[in-house]
Amino acid sequence: MLAENELLQHPGFTSAAELTALPALRVVQPDGQANEELLSRVSDEELIAMYQQMLRVRLFDRKCIALQRQGKMGTYAPFEGQEAAQVASAVCLANKDWMFPTYRDHAAAMTRGLPMQTVYRYWMGQMDGFSVPDELNILPPCVPIATHLLHGVGAAWAARLRDEDTVSFCYFGDGATSEGDFHEALNFAGVFHLPVVFFCQNNGFAISVPFARQSASPTIAKRASAYGMDGIRVDGNDAVAVYLACQTAIHKARNGGGPTLIEAVTQRFGAHTTADDPTRYRDQAAMNEEWRRERDAVQRLRLLLTSKGLWDDNREEQWIAKVGNELVNAWEEAVAKPFSEPIEMFDHVYSKMPAHLEEQKKLLAGGGLA
């Protein structure tokens, strides 16, 4: 046996204690004060556009919760609190890039151009809620945790093989980092040096389980080094920091620089889903109050914009009214559209419907009776 200090002094030794939390990249402070040098990399127009989109998706999220409560939608996964992470990352993607979202990433998907009506229809349990416009490379929300990271790897691989400068961008939560597929995806991406960005929104909880139960390491970003890729931890409630980190990682991937793991530290204000009761596992009222006061991404960006004279109450009011109309119109369209017919369940199972399915389809068409 080696004495403990012999081991400690060996250059090949890393102690668990070295795994301290990394500092997170931050450009804008909670009070709206910014690092002007870094802030200058983002144009005023970009800042305004991100803010408008963050406010838009927040209002959408609240509307969905209300619709679920009225029994008009199924179980819904809210993202309030994570707007900066989702919006400021999605705006960095080019149209041809691939996006692999989870069930909580509809803010990102909508930022990318997924129609609001589609998102409504998805949570209404309608089949066309799974369809994506032809011009977008997005899969429907991935429900099984972490499994889609490997699809991102494969899509990035395809880009490399075809010599295209397309980038894959994968969204996932902190809980996902515990699954084996997380490891496999990062390992493949490292080995094959692929143009993929792994974007983890560390919101501190996987349903009720706090991050400390997912990992004995205080940081996710640091794991990147074990896969031979760059890792960066950003303040996920700072839209500007998220934007700069994602832009850099995407640019690097597009230009042959390989994969990056980004950990955006954030929080969800509300429940895991509308079926969840967060008061069972955290002091929801106190956290919510403190988070909204100190970490709210929307408020932070608004403070910045206001201080720069780019936004005011008047513009805020107008924007809210505009989004309000959009929310209502999209909802009205979503419910006016015919609902899925049971018979549609037989479509798209195979490239060509096998005989036994034809028979079953007929059976259902005839009232489902034998």
Partner: protein, 328 residues
Amino acid sequence: MTRMLNMVQAIRDALDVKLAEDNRVLVLGEDVGVNGGVFRATDGLQDKYGPERVIDTPLAESGIIGSSIGLALNGFRPVAEIQFLAFIFPGLEQVFAHAARMRYRTRGRFTAPLVIRAPYGAGIRGPELHSESLESLFAHTPGLRVVAPSNPYDAKGMLISAMEVDDPVIFLEPTRLYRAGTRDVPEGSYRVSLEKAERLTEGRDVSLFAWGAMVPVALRAAEQLEKEQGLSAEVIDLRSLMPLDKETILSSVEKTGRAVIVHEAHQTAGLGAEIAALLADEAVWCLRAPIKRVAGFDVPVPPFSVEDAYLPTTERVLAGLKEVVMAE
């Protein structure tokens, strides 16, 4: 003493009883501790037995099942919760390649007596992959016991038996029945066999086999048949899917000469095919009509707005019964 419990409460009660009387029993999984499980099947158990015995694990099904195997090798009795049955996919390697084969490949030296509990089935307006019925995957794998209770009494008694038997058990909990009704459930310990079907109604004209959430559907269809045609169906709740209770299945069909099998899993290669094959093998001379399966269609369980049409309904089961009783 008995209490009126629904199925979730009965399952919780079974865990409570065994945690109290057997310190080898551990409960582990995602959100089972502080949160008490997303369906509350482990509600309050961590408070009562502590975080070393009722354990919130990292989010990793292979981790949960694989490490349960290691615990079981060393005398523990892990009861792993998989949050919804389809989320067992990342852990299937551990189930199929290891839990099921431990006894076999160590020539009886070691076993992996763990229980994997999972809510399963459709009809709860769940999101994608929250509604699957995968029982035939497990029944097809030698070494696993597979059971699916349909009421609170059986759920408690079978879960206690599952925690005591020296084999890995896949314990399937029909989500739709979790809170569908209450039953008198005895306090403390009692056991329900992991190998016996239960005859729920006596009938002369046709045998109707079902399990899990299809049992109430089968009962309603049988009632309807009686009303409409004055014919009686013998409804049998299989309860155990591996092994099948051959004796009960065969003796019923020997009497009625007709069989309808209902399951919500896809029809093709579902367990209905196995039961039909069993009847063809061993009871074909008693059959007076073709065997009928009423099952979920061979499509992925569709989004919840149309899931009711995927599931066998009372009407579909009744139509199946009529087809079989009218043949001849």
